[in-house]
């Protein structure tokens, strides 16, 4: 009984390390293929379109609503201490440090990451990747690396857009609806949000999340069992694993960046 349990534990651990190893091999090939992507910007452009532009709408809408909710909740909390003036600070810091990188990465996983996995999984299932290899075309360079690089480029831009739109949303609610003084809103924000410590750190976070999100999406697509069930399972795994990885990494990054 206990031996069975130990065996299954061992099996799981082994397969986990196997997957981890394969994931790193994937990452290695992606990284060494990046120079050849830079030689063909057109491929990159196409992928920035499909992972970036097509994710823009959901980012805009979510950013606006998250900012508005932060405005409302922040106002209610701060008004108890008579500190409504600090609303701008509260909204901007929450967005720039945490919300924008994390929520963008989660939305990205749901919108672009899952689509990437499904696309690559299907390309594998229909032997397109294998066919390319037989045509002496390296799928890493032609298919995977452009998607990887596009995701890494798109993520910080999306996060910046999310934060900017969110600040707007907080402004509409705070200043427009709840009557916080406009001058205080902006000046308090500017006084307390630091470009390097807050904005840049937020951008660095979202770059890290970008790498992790596309890496997982591409790995899962490539590793998918080439059947429709396998692809659908890989897609689910992409969203789940990316979300967990982003949330976990966010804690570590926050501790490193903002901890004292």
């Amino acid at each position: 009984m206990i031996l069975d349990w130990l065996q299954s534990l061992g099996q799981r651990a082994l397969s986990f390390f196997q997957r981890l190893g394969r994931g790193h091999i994937t990452l290695y090939y992606l990284l060494i293929s990046i120079p050849s992507v830079l030689m063909r910007p057109r491929l990159l452009l196409q992928q920035v379109y499909s992972v970036g532009v097509l994710t823009l709408l959901i980012i805009l809408v979510s950013g606006l609503f998250v900012g508005m909710v932060l405005g409302l909740q922040g106002y209610n909390t701060l008004a108890r201490f008579g500190a409504e003036q600090a609303l701008g600070t509260a909204v901007a810091l929450t967005l720039v440090r945490e919300m924008a990188p994390v929520v963008t990465a989660l939305l990205f996983a749901g919108r672009a990451g899952s689509a990437l996995t499904a696309e690559i999984g299907l390309m594998k299932a229909t032997e397109q990747l294998s066919g390319m290899e037989m045509m002496a075309v390296d799928p890493n360079k032609r298919v995977l690396a452009p998607r990887f690089l596009a995701g890494v480029i798109a993520m910080p831009l999306l996060a910046a857009i999310f934060a900017a739109v969110g600040v707007m949303g907080g402004y509409f609610v705070g200043v427009g609806l709840l009557g916080v003084d406009e001058g205080a809103f902006w000046s308090q924000m500017q006084a307390n949000v630091d470009l390097r410590d807050d904005v840049f750190n937020g951008i660095i976070k979202s770059m890290v999340f970008g790498v992790v999100a596309v890496w997982i999406a591409i790995y899962e697509g490539q590793d998918a069992t080439p059947t429709s069930e396998g692809v659908s399972r890989a897609t689910t795994r992409t969203v789940v694993h990316t979300s967990l990885a982003v949330l976990g990494l966010n804690f570590i990054l926050t501790a490193l960046m903002f901890g004292e």
Binding site: L122, M123, T126, E127, Q128, S130, G131, M132, E133, M134, M135, A136, V137, D138, R142
Partner: protein, 275 residues
């Protein structure tokens, strides 16, 4: 390239390949002659597709060697292997067309990837290849709009886009209606002769394959069971070859999957399955 013209284009010696516990090839020797159509036949699940992937260098054998045009496929560096692959075409069973490109771009794909030809010349080449498979009119269609037979013909046009020395066909006749089957049979023969290719056809469709092949290898149980020209195989005294070539339901390959005795199995009831 300065190889002896009479030497076989592909030479396989002592090939052994296993997937996990399952041994797929166990000491296979094969020669593919230049300029001819060689068929590799055998029942489903004998690893015929695996053999093509081994020749193409996508899989690695556990033992034995595969030489293509004098080069040991599995000893080549990645760059050399890619160079060699430019001279081989592989036609996948599914066609493996790139679904986000239309017919024209699919055929143009290897040209764009491997050459720096001007657009007008690419266009001429693509139209020539499409004309050869009779699909010049379908150039603007997307792969999802093609029938299975058409997709295979487009894939064939793509496989010959770089004028390879050899084309490998993976089950080209499976699941085709009689008309597209006839078209493919004729195409394979015609392209082979017109472009002086060497063709390898992997199939289990006896009639069609025998009609175009110059030489046939029969594989079963991980070994070459018989080989020879279609006529020779028709007269082969191997009982297995006879059963396969004539499509008999019972023979050396039994109709029944190995099982316990029928009567005892029935009498055992549920207990039998649990044991």
């Amino acid at each position: 390239m300065a190889q002896d013209e009479t030497a076989p284009l592909v030479r396989i010696r002592g090939l052994r390949f296993a997937r996990g516990e399952r041994v797929i090839f166990d000491g296979v020797d094969l020669d593919i002659r230049r300029g001819g159509i060689t068929a590799i036949m055998g029942p489903s699940g004998t690893g015929k597709t695996t053999l093509l992937k081994l020749i193409g260098g996508q899989l690695r054998p556990q033992a034995g060697s595969i030489e293509v045009d004098g080069l040991d496929v599995h000893r080549l560096s990645r760059d050399k292997l890619f160079e060699l692959r430019k001279r081989m075409g592989l036609l996948f069973q599914s066609g493996a067309l790139l679904t986000d490109l239309n017919v024209f771009e699919n055929v143009a794909f290897p040209l764009r990837e491997h050459t720096r030809l001007p657009e007008s010349m690419i266009r001429d080449l693509v139209l020539m290849k499409l004309e050869a498979v009779g699909l010049r009119g379908a150039r603007a269609l997307m792969p999802s709009e093609l029938s299975g037979g058409m997709a295979r013909r487009v894939a064939l046009a793509r496989a010959i886009a770089l004028d390879p020395m050899m084309v490998m066909y993976d089950e080209p006749f499976t699941g085709q209606d009689p008309i597209s089957m006839g078209v493919l049979v004729k195409l394979i023969r015609r392209l082979n002769d017109a472009l002086s290719l060497t063709s390898i056809v992997v199939s289990h469709d006896v009639q069609e394959t025998a009609a175009i092949a110059d030489y046939i290898y029969l594989l079963s149980g991980g070994k070459v069971v018989a080989h020879g020209s279609p006529e020779e195989l028709g007269r082969a005294d191997s009982a297995w070859a006879q059963q396969f070539m004539q499509g008999l339901p019972d023979g050396p390959v039994p109709f029944h999957y190995p099982a316990a005795d029928y009567a005892t199995d029935l009498l055992a009831g549920d207990e039998g399955d649990k044991a």
